[in-house]
């Protein structure tokens, strides 16, 4: 089966091509094309995953380009991480395809939406089976394109257009770092292959400085894609896209590509303490930074977006603390519960036609399926015991503690408290209390939307049990599989960490309940709306404004200057030349007046002049 893994990305590509060619004719039936094709990918991915449990990794490549002595290869690789990612991506993609059938019903560009989804799924699946950096980079950019197209799907909305451009440009900034890092590695090792790069690193063929430099450059690419500080601002804006897209791309798969990249390149990072510390610091800072913004946002999708940024920071923190297993484990559980939360949020938006949580409330009874599923996702992300998020978050905290970063550990713990608080703030404001907005036509979503949520809900509960301190760390042992470069399958941490994590998350939930559920504590208890702290958080620490004033203003200044040169200097010269030639032509055309006598006179004068010249020079022209 594994030798046929290359087929997995091709199914969505076929769906993309079919919908591109026949989309107009298929109309909403086009959904079935997309759903069937992603189902095929999912079935293959599951088969590959199960085969990988018992058999060694499979890699196949062929020569693609030969330049002098250097030959570039293309191919595919199925190792533990790739097989797991194949499963996650194809599963979430399949569920989102199914969900979109109900959510996008009635949209004029329905087939186009499915075509874009197919393109994105193709790119993402291609990304996770690439055996070398160059191929990864190509799919990396394709994924960015898919994200751009889908964020800008409602291109007639100015905000969507701006958000799409912002996402593309911000991630491009990171991609430049990745590209430079990739070229440096190629220069030093002569190969893009992961295996050759790692063996060169291990053999000490690269200087320590170069390892640190390339690792950090590659991490910059991951920062852009995974929305880490300081390139995080595009991710919340990307919520302008349709909600299923937010679930698929901006929660479960594409933004996790940065984490995946760091995990894939982990042996390189592991060779440099500085690089690891950078990853961990950025991750921990992003986790608490984004979580604090999430505390005050009022748009349901934006709260989830900041929570995504924060959770991605967690994964980076885990990887940076040498907790390879913890990072990948959280990547998996997060994909399930965050996709669930987004799909449930989409279901809520579908029902009440607003994204502002101030206008919701009291939806628990009206949305019989969505509400409990949302609660499951909320419990999972908050790290309540026995759900998936609890186990993976615990792994990360242990990794941070054992990695010797007590400050980062405390930051992560505070971020966990905030996460539990803002997620339950969201839950209580949306589902409890009395209705605050216009809720006349609230209805539960169709089965095509609730079923995918149900599947994800089950996974959000049980997926943590593949790697627990109590029932054995199956996932961790399998992921590491004796490769000591990746660390241990399971980290033994002090028991108080687990207790602390539980206490912190329950405390967050309790505080949220006191304020938003029971309302025994005023909402303005710590900082009311209009207060300095609230204003700063609500405006996201003014990062956007800061970029606007510095980077954007400087760039605009330079471009105005260049425009001035273009218009006045270059344009002036061009206009001068044009004017001269035009004048010449106008004078010349006056001679052609059709008066035969004028012609004759001119000819005679010319003859006379020639004669005079001949007479003066004696018939010889020098």
């Amino acid at each position: 089966m594994m030798e046929n893994a290359w087929l997995i990305p091709l199914f969505p590509l076929v769906s993309f091509v079919i919908l591109l060619l026949f989309g107009k004719r298929l109309k909403e039936a086009g959904a079935y094309v997309g759903i069937l094709m992603t189902l095929a990918s999912l079935v293959f991915s599951i088969l590959v995953l199960f085969e990988r449990f018992s058999e060694p990794s499979y890699i196949q490549k062929f020569e693609w380009l030969k330049i002098g002595d250097v030959s570039l290869t293309a191919g595919f690789e199925v190792n533990q991480l790739n097989a797991l990612m194949l499963f996650i991506v194809s599963l979430v993609s399949f569920l989102v395809h199914t969900y979109s059938k109900g959510y996008m019903h009635g949209d004029g560009r329905f087939p186009v939406f499915y075509a874009y989804l197919g393109l994105f799924t193709f790119a993402m699946l291609g990304l996770v089976i690439s055996p070398n950096l160059l191929q990864t980079y190509m799919f990396w950019e394709l994924v960015g394109l898919g994200s751009f197209l889908l964020i800008g799907f409602y291109f007639y909305k100015e905000e969507a257009k701006a958000a799409a451009k912002k996402a593309f440009i911000m991630t491009r900034i990171g991609d430049v770092g990745l590209f430079i890092g990739m070229i440096l590695l190629f220069w030093k090792t002569g190969s893009f292959e992961y295996s050759e790069i790692f063996s060169a690193v291990e053999a000490g063929g690269i200087s320590q400085t170069m390892i640190t430099l390339t690792a950090i450059l590659i991490f910059i690419g991951a920062v852009g894609k995974s929305g880490q500080f300081p390139l995080h601002t595009w991710l919340p804006d990307a919520m302008e896209g349709p909600t299923p897209v937010s679930a698929l791309i901006h929660a479960a798969t594409m933004v996790a590509a940065g984490v995946y990249l760091v995990a894939t390149m982990f042996p390189l990072f592991a060779a440099s303490k500085t690089a690891l510390l950078t990853v961990a610091t950025i991750g921990a800072f992003t986790a608490i930074f984004a979580a604090s913004i999430g505390l005050v946002q009022t748009d349901i999708k934006r709260v989830l977006a900041y929570s995504t940024v924060s959770q991605l920071g967690y994964m980076m923190l885990a990887l940076g603390s040498a907790g390879y297993v913890a990072g990948v484990f959280h990547l998996m559980t997060h994909a399930f519960f965050k996709a669930l939360l987004f799909l449930a949020a989409g279901s809520v938006i579908h029902a009440v036609h607003t994204q502002n949580i101030e206008e919701m409330g009291g939806l628990w009874k009206k949305l019989k399926w969505t509400a409990p599923l949302f609660l499951i996702g909320t419990l999972a992300i908050s790290g309540v015991p026995l759900l998936s998020g609890f186990f993976s978050k615990d792994e990360i905290l242990v990794a941070a503690w054992e990695g010797g970063h007590p400050i980062l550990f405390v930051l992560a713990l505070i971020a966990a408290f905030m996460t539990a608080f803002y997620m339950f703030r969201l839950f209580f404001m949306v589902f409890t209390g009395e209705a605050r907005g216009n809720q006349n036509h609230v209805h539960e979503s169709p089965g095509s939307m609730t079923l995918p949520m149900l599947v994800l809900g089950v996974l959000a509960i049980i997926s943590g049990y593949v790697n627990t301190p109590w029932f054995g760390s199956f996932l961790g042992d399998w992921l590491v599989d004796g490769n000591e470069k990746l660390g241990h399958g399971h980290m033994e941490g002090p028991i108080w960490i687990m207790i602390a994590a539980t206490v912190v998350s329950l405390a967050g939930i309790y505080l949220a309940w006191l304020i938003y559920g029971k309302r025994s504590v005023s909402r303005n208890w710590l900082s009311g709306s209009g207060d300095t702290l609230h204003t700063i958080l609500y405006n996201k620490y003014y990062v956007d404004e800061f970029y606007q004033m510095t980077v954007v203003a400087v760039t605009k200044g330079i471009s105005y200057f260049l425009r001035f040169i273009d218009v006045f200097l270059v344009g002036g010269i061009v206009k001068g030349v044009v004017g001269f030639v035009q004048g010449l032509g106008a004078t010349g055309s006056k001679l052609q007046n059709g008066q035969v006598q004028t012609y004759a006179a001119v000819a005679f004068v010319g003859l006379a002049i020639l004669t005079v010249i001949f007479a003066l020079t004696g018939g010889y022209l020098q």
Partner: protein, 104 residues
């Protein structure tokens, strides 16, 4: 044999040519222009005959050439007048400055 020098003939030809050229370049009436062209041709003929008699290598060729030139001039005048007639029928004018169709 003769006391008239060659320069006298050449001066006559020059004067005749200049009159013809002046007429061809300035007159509006096309008939006058054609007549002026005949004058210029005849000035050339005088030159031919003169050099045939007084040239550095006297030969009958020049006189023969003058006869040819006269025949061609007669034919040219006939064609020119025919064109002028056709133009006059179309445009009801013989003024040469109004005949600028070639410009278009």
């Amino acid at each position: 044999m003769s006391s008239i020098p060659a320069s006298a003939f050449l001066a006559l030809a020059l004067i005749l040519f200049c009159i013809g050229l002046y007429g061809a370049l300035t007159k509006r009436n096309t008939v006058i222009v054609l007549i002026s062209i005949e004058l210029m041709l005849n000035a050339v003929n005088i030159n031919l005959v003169t050099f045939s008699k007084y040239g550095a290598a006297p030969s009958i060729d020049g006189q023969v050439f003058a006869l040819f030139a006269m025949a061609v001039a007669a034919a040219e005048a006939a064609v020119g007048l025919a064109i002028l007639m056709a133009l006059y029928q179309r445009k009801k004018t013989v003024h040469i400055d109004e005949m600028d169709e070639m410009k278009q």
